[in-house]
Each structure stands twice: as C-alpha cells, then as structure tokens.
Amino acid sequence: MSSLTMRPCGDFRTSYAQDNTIFETKTIRMMAILSVLVLCAAPLFLDSYFISIFIQMSYLGIAALGLNILVGYTGQISLGHGAFFGFGAFASAWLNISMGIPVFLCIPLAGFLTMAVGMMFGMPAARIKGLYLAIATLAAQFIIEDFFARAEWFSGGSSGSMAEPINLFGFAFDTDESFYYIALFAFVVMFIWGCNLMRSRDGRAFVAVRDHYLSAEIMGVKLNKYRLLSFGISSFYAGIGGALYAHYLGYVSAEGFTIFMSIQFLAMIIIGGLGSIKGTMMGVIFMVLLPEVLSGGVGMMQETEWGNIPMVVDGLAYIKEMAIGLVIIMFLIFEPEGLAHRWKQIKNYWKFYPFAY
C-alpha cells in the first residue's frame, strides 16, 4: 500500500523536500549509509572469495538495474542485454588499448558508446511492442555476438582482448580488494542515479509510457523519444557494468555474452521485482548467491557416501541451470511481483502485528 501507512508515528513532514526523499524514513536512510560504511570495511575481515562475490554483484547489479529501467519501468522488453553488457566490456578495453585513453575514463565512455549502439538497436522499439520487440532484440543479441567474433580490430576476434586494470594517480587497482572499492563506488553512484531518475521528470514519463501510453501522449510525453531513451539508458547501464567486468577480469572473450546471460539478467529483475530499484538489488544478490550455495551444497553431498557419484559431481553445471529455471517458474507462480513485494509484505506484517491489516 501507500508509503503513508508504513510511516512510524510522529514522523511528520513539513516540506515537500522531506516528502520526496529516496529513503522512506530517517532510519532507513541511516541503515543504508551504515551498510555502505560496513561494506567499505568489508575487505578488512572478509577473504577474497567473498570480496569477488561482492564485485560480481556490483557489475551485474548495475547492468540489471539498466534492464529494469527498460523492462520494469518502461514496459519494453529486451533479450539482448547480455550482448550490450559484452559490448561495454569490449568497448572499454578497445578504447584503452587502441586510443590510449586512461581506463577510468574508458568506463563511462564505454557506457556512452554502448548507449549509442543500444539506441540504434532500440530504434524499432519506438514502433513495435511485446513479442515482436522481443524477437527484434533477440536479433540484436545475435548480431552483436557475431560482431564480437568477426571484428578483430575491436574485440580481438576469437582470441579475445586484454583489459588493463584501472590505474589512478599511479595506483593500480589490480587486486580484488582494491578493485572492490571501485566497484562499490560505481554501484552506489549508479543506483543513486537510478533512484533520482525515477523521481524526476523522465523517470515518471517512462512509467507513464508503460502504464498507459495513449494518455501519456495526451499528457505531452513524446512516446518515441522516451521508448528510445529508455533503450539508451538501459544500454548505458549495461555498458558501465560490462566495462567494470572487463577491467576486473583483465581479459574479455566473446563466449561469455550469450543469450544465457541476457536471460540471467531478466531472471534477476523478475525475481527481484519489476519496476523496483530495491528489488533489482535483491534479485542480483539472490542470483549471484544461488550458484554459490548450490555448489556449496553439491560439495557437501560429495562428502557423504551416497552423494559422491558422477551424476552429482559432474552434473553441477546442469543442476545450476535447472535451478535457475525452476526458481524463475516458482517466482512467476507464487510471487510475480518479486522479492521487493515479499519484503514489503513482511514489513507490513511486522508493522501491524498482531492485527491482520
């Protein structure tokens, strides 16, 4: 329900600015700041396995937020997000190697380059909808994948391309621990950017286009412009995420950016909650942890006598994919609005306990 019911007693707003904050209450804002501070300190007491998971969450999360702006907020569909992610990765490496631009500038530039490509492929989006758009973006996925394999000047072809680590004022961010801060910074900036976008003019226009495009047009929203812009912004996020990925791994190869990756991004936002920034975060955390937990589970099964059989040990990759499929289906049936909605219900339950509503 409305945020009004979730507000604690005595929390009065006396200005419109107070009523228009990103975080609903001061407590939530304090918690958010606190968790960022805790995350800043994380490398001190967590080993690099967990740090690498956090980095993964960050670059995947940025790209997933982009997809959520397109799919969840604007109501378009894209099956080519993985390819845009890959384009960002190659573009950043290419800009750095062939143009000699410093890496920390390459990342935003790669974002803008991906935005341009995304808008090119998004051009039909202004005119077609639904299933047809899905097929058009699927075509984008395969065209870009093919481009990676053939354009040796850009991607190094089948051998892939090297990506230098980020180097700022003579300090190279080439370890997990140092890159972690770059990733965290990018994550926080991009998510705040998303939050602010959604509470300003263009974000509202996106949602208006999704909910009722005819009346959005009557209200003065240019439909074609906003459908295209949404594609652009979503690709921008994908490009930034991809560039971070490239400079984290130090090596980009074309094999990774398949349709499976696009589906994975879609899974993240469906599980997390379409049209929710908080949900995007939850979906990404869920989808990154799922394979880790699964492989942990398989590892434990291996320890037992009955579990140490080839079906389990060799089948891990299949179990992973099946589990992702199963989870998506379960969410579509039981919680179509995603984790964000479930979170809200849990909060409501605590708030109103012991009354039902």
Partner: protein
C-alpha cells in the same frame, strides 16, 4: 467578444465505410463551457479524439488559439495548452496519485535524464518542488489530498475520475476536454463534479468542452450546447434553444408518444 479559442472547420472522419463525422463545424468561445450531446455512436468521442489529436480527420481543419493544429501530434497539443480526460479511465495505474498529477507537469518541467538524476547538483530538485507546489494547489482544489500517496489503480471510480481531472488541470491548459466526466457516478459525486467544472471554468479561466449524457447537468452548467447525430451537426446554440428544437427531440431527447403520433398523422 474575443476570438474563439477553438475553431472546427468542416471536419470529416471515416473509418473505412463508416462515416464517423461529416462536415462538422463549430466554434468554442473563450472561457465558456461547451457541451456536445447526442445519441450513442453519434461521433462525440470521435470529435474529441480529433481535437486532442488521437485521430487525424480526413478533411477539415482545427484551429486552436489562431494556430492550425490539425496535423500536430497529441503531445504537441499538450504543450500548447490542451488537456483532456478519457471516458474509460486512463490513469497510470501503478503510480501514486501524486506522480500521476506530476506527469501532467511534464511539458512544463525542464530537467532531463542527466540533470534529473543529478538532483541536488542541478536545478532539478528546486524545479520538482516548485511544480509540486502547484500540483498541491490542484490537489487541494479537487479535494483529493487524503489519497495523494495512494496507488491510482486502487482507488474507487469516482476518485479516479477526479484524479484524472487533476492530471489534466496540472497541464496548465487553456482548453480542457472532458469525455463523460459524470458517467457512472451517484448524485452526490455528480454534484461535486459539476461544481469542480464550474470552478475550474470560472476561477482558473479554463475553457471546457465536454461530452455528457446527463441532460440536467448539461442544461445547468453549459453556456453552449451542440448536438451531433450520425456524425452530423444538428444544431449548436444556447441550452434552451437546443432543448426546444424539434430535430433534437426526435433524435436524442425523445418526445411523448402521443405527440409523436400526432406528428406522424
């Protein structure tokens, strides 16, 4: 008398073989409440759609504020100051009431996808809050302040109609097109709505063009009435003149049985 705000000149609209409108011409005086009535399928909503730009008429021209708008897209007409509501509700169902109304300010806001997210660093926050102030005025005027944070899709029918009116008013329009603002409402809600329409006409100086079936309301609040029948204009004039017209009675309002019999014989 000043120039009419809206001039419709010989509009014709056909869907294949169906002639929805044939050579309809009329003028809407600035600052008036102008009602369009007529039986179902007479082309009232088609007329409104032509004015707001959803349909392109096959021939004829529409002049708004001395500017030919016949070929402008609906969003360009919104920029010029034309707002409308729909017969079947067309709110943005998942947005809050407040955001719905803020969408109405779209063409007046200037922040974009770069300056908007830079919220505090750019002028976006200041701008958003200024417009929020205006939106709150509209909310106060239409007495929907208690639901401003509710999700639009969860509201009752009467309230949704009011939110839709608020959204159209947030455009700062000079002309507002209302498609059956009172359909499906009870007496009390109708009275409220009639009062809002009169107030927005008199206080805000907005010209109103509306389609309505409730003859009591139409006769009470409109300055001029036009009757459409089978896509043709029957008559336009003062409400009393229109009421007294024989053609209108036969086509729409209905006549007493014996009177009709006499006429036939």
């Amino acid at each position: 008398m000043s120039e009419p705000i809206l001039k419709i000149d010989k509009i014709s609209l056909a869907f294949g073989g169906v002639k929805a409108l044939t050579d309809v011409s009329f003028e809407v005086p600035r600052g008036s409440v102008f009602s369009i009535i007529g039986p179902n399928g007479a082309g009232k909503t088609s007329m409104l759609n032509c004015i707001s730009g959803r349909y392109k008429p096959n021939s004829g021209s529409i002049t708004f504020n001395n500017q030919n708008v016949t070929h402008l897209r609906p969003n360009d007409r919104a920029d010029l100051g034309m707002g409308r509501t729909f017969q079947n509700l067309a709110l943005f169902g998942h947005m809050s009431v407040l955001d719905n109304i803020m969408v109405g300010r779209h063409h007046l806001l200037k922040n974009n996808w770069i300056s908007g997210p830079l919220y505090w660093a750019s002028k976006a926050q200041k701008e958003e809050l200024e417009h929020r102030r205006y939106v709150e005025e509209v909310i106060d005027f239409l007495e929907i302040s208690h639901i401003r944070k509710s999700v639009a899709g969860t509201l009752s029918y009467g309230l949704r109609k009011r939110v839709e009116l608020a959204r159209a008013m947030a455009l700062n329009p000079q002309l507002i097109l209302l498609d059956e603002p009172m359909a499906g409402m009870n007496l009390e809600e109708k009275e409220d709505m009639a009062r809002y329409i009169l107030d927005l006409n008199e206080e805000f100086g907005i010209t109103v063009v509306m389609i309505e079936h409730d003859m009591g309301v139409v006769m009470d609040i409109s300055h001029q009435v036009m009757v459409l029948d089978f896509g043709k204009k029957l008559i336009a004039g003062l409400p009393d003149e229109v009421m007294a017209n024989e053609h209108v009675k036969r086509a729409y309002l209905g006549v007493e049985d014996d009177a009709e019999l006499e006429e036939v014989s």
